[in-house]
């Protein structure tokens, strides 16, 4: 595989982008966080925009921005990771089905309800006929798309790949998540998430897309080194699994400068993070992001966006710090995320 560089990035989340620069974060008292609304009409034709659900809007917007950032017109492949897909349209057509007693249905929401609507709409807009795949693997959906990215770059003819993660919130599905105990029963302010000692978390919607290329540019953000997925790990094994993942890349845990962790305030499963925060990474700068942007199946793509920015700007964002340790010149970042104690994803990034 050729070396893979992060050449363009873009994200949409419940926080404004400048929260990274230290802007006061948006504080929500609700346990379901909605992504900020941007001026989608500035980059998407209104005639196209009218039918798009939030996931499609966010993804297309981010895709165009990430490609523009890398000065790439059409990528060789489009890879999307999404855990829930276009859930808003799914709920819409199922609701219509019930209302009409399985009679006449409006076709649009049905057509747009599939998970791969996102990748399809991006391809249609860009007129991109290249490899196009959508990965749905719970909380490692984005990581799965990254594995395909690595495979695609085995082909020397592949120069640029658009890869991203997206998930949207929808009324019924978040209702199920509440019933299932995935969302906290008590109302909590997002910035107090890590002080919580109860089950569940705060759920959100977000999208982050990247132009990854085989060519390093003067404007590149960082190098994407590797990604690993483990469906099941015991808490007692998490440190050794991480060390094994790092070792296959010739890296020791001591070489890691910053760890970005998917802590989500669910006391049942944050013990995975406790284990490494108090263990192998106790002397490292530790960052969290879910107290800012919430939890969803593709939110590790937001951590990827953070990692790329940190490595390019050489700045640890204050709003995301979990401890007081700093790092002046971050060289290597490890992203670790899991959800409900399952589907553990490791991503290794390196500065240029």
């Amino acid at each position: 595989m050729s070396r893979v560089y992060i050449n363009g990035i873009s994200s949409i989340s419940p926080q404004p982008e400048r929260v990274f620069e230290g802007l006061e974060p948006h504080v929500s008292k609700e346990n379901i966080l909605h992504a900020v609304d941007l001026n989608y009409k500035s980059v998407i034709k209104p005639i196209m925009l009218r039918r798009m659900s939030k996931a499609v809007k966010m993804s297309l917007y981010c895709s165009k921005m990430a490609l523009k950032d890398a000065n790439v017109q059409i990528p060789d492949a489009i890879l999307v990771g999404t855990g829930q897909g276009c859930m808003q349209d799914t709920e819409k057509f199922m609701g219509n089905m019930l209302d009409s007693e399985e009679g006449l249905l409006s076709p649009t929401s049905f057509i747009q309800s599939t998970h791969n609507t996102v990748g399809g709409q991006i391809a249609l807009d860009l007129n991109c006929t290249g490899h196009n795949l959508t990965f749905t693997q719970n909380s490692v959906s984005f990581e799965s798309a990254l594995i395909d990215t690595q495979l695609q770059f085995e082909d020397p003819d592949v120069e640029n790949i658009l890869v991203g993660g997206v998930d949207e919130t929808s009324e019924k599905f978040t209702g199920f998540q509440t019933l299932d105990g995935q969302i906290k029963k008590e109302k909590i302010r997002n910035i107090n998430l890590y002080n919580s000692n109860t089950p569940g978390t705060i759920i959100s919607e977000s999208a982050a897309f990247f132009t990854l290329g085989s060519e390093k540019k003067s404007t590149s953000y960082a190098e994407f080194i590797d990604v690993g997925i483990f469906n099941s790990i015991d808490v007692s094994d998490i440190s050794s699994k991480i060390q094994k993942f790092l070792k296959r890349n010739g890296v020791s845990f001591e070489d890691i400068d910053v760890v970005i962790l998917g802590r989500n305030g669910d006391h049942r499963f944050d013990k995975y993070y406790d284990e490494i925060q108090n263990g192998i990474f106790s002397g490292k700068s530790q960052l969290g992001f879910k107290h800012m942007v919430g939890e969803n199946n593709a939110v590790s793509s937001y951590a990827f966006w953070m990692g790329a920015k940190i490595l390019k700007e050489k700045k640890i964002p204050e709003n995301f710090k979990l401890n007081t340790l700093n790092c002046d010149v971050p060289q290597k970042i490890l992203i670790y995320n899991q959800y409900l104690g399952r589907n553990h994803g490791f991503i290794l990034l390196q500065s240029l």
């Binding site: 209104p46 005639i47 925009l49 009218r50 039918r51 006449l104 249905l105 409006s106 076709p107 649009t108 057509i111």
Partner: protein, 85 residues
């Protein structure tokens, strides 16, 4: 403009999510597809459902669609001649 024309325009705007459009923005003889309003094949499917749901008209010959959905005038004419409700 007849009540049916106005009703049709309201339904088209609502059903096809034509945000930012008013009834007065659609001319009775304006082409709905192509260079006119710019509707596409998914919109055509929505219009077929609209005819059946609101007026009890089931299109049996898909080739008729091109002619019927040419403009609000042509749809209104077709509804007047064939409506079941």
């Amino acid at each position: 403009m007849s009540d049916l024309h106005t009703e049709l325009k309201k339904s088209i705007i609502e059903q096809l999510n034509l945000e930012d459009m008013e009834v007065s923005d659609i001319e009775n003889d304006e082409h709905l597809f192509g260079d006119g309003l710019g509707l596409d094949s998914i919109d055509a499917l929505e219009l077929i459902v609209l005819l059946e749901k609101d007026y009890g008209i089931k299109l049996t010959d898909p080739n008729q669609g091109k002619e019927i959905f040419n403009s609000v005038n042509t749809i209104a004419d077709f509804i007047e001649k064939n409506r079941a409700k």
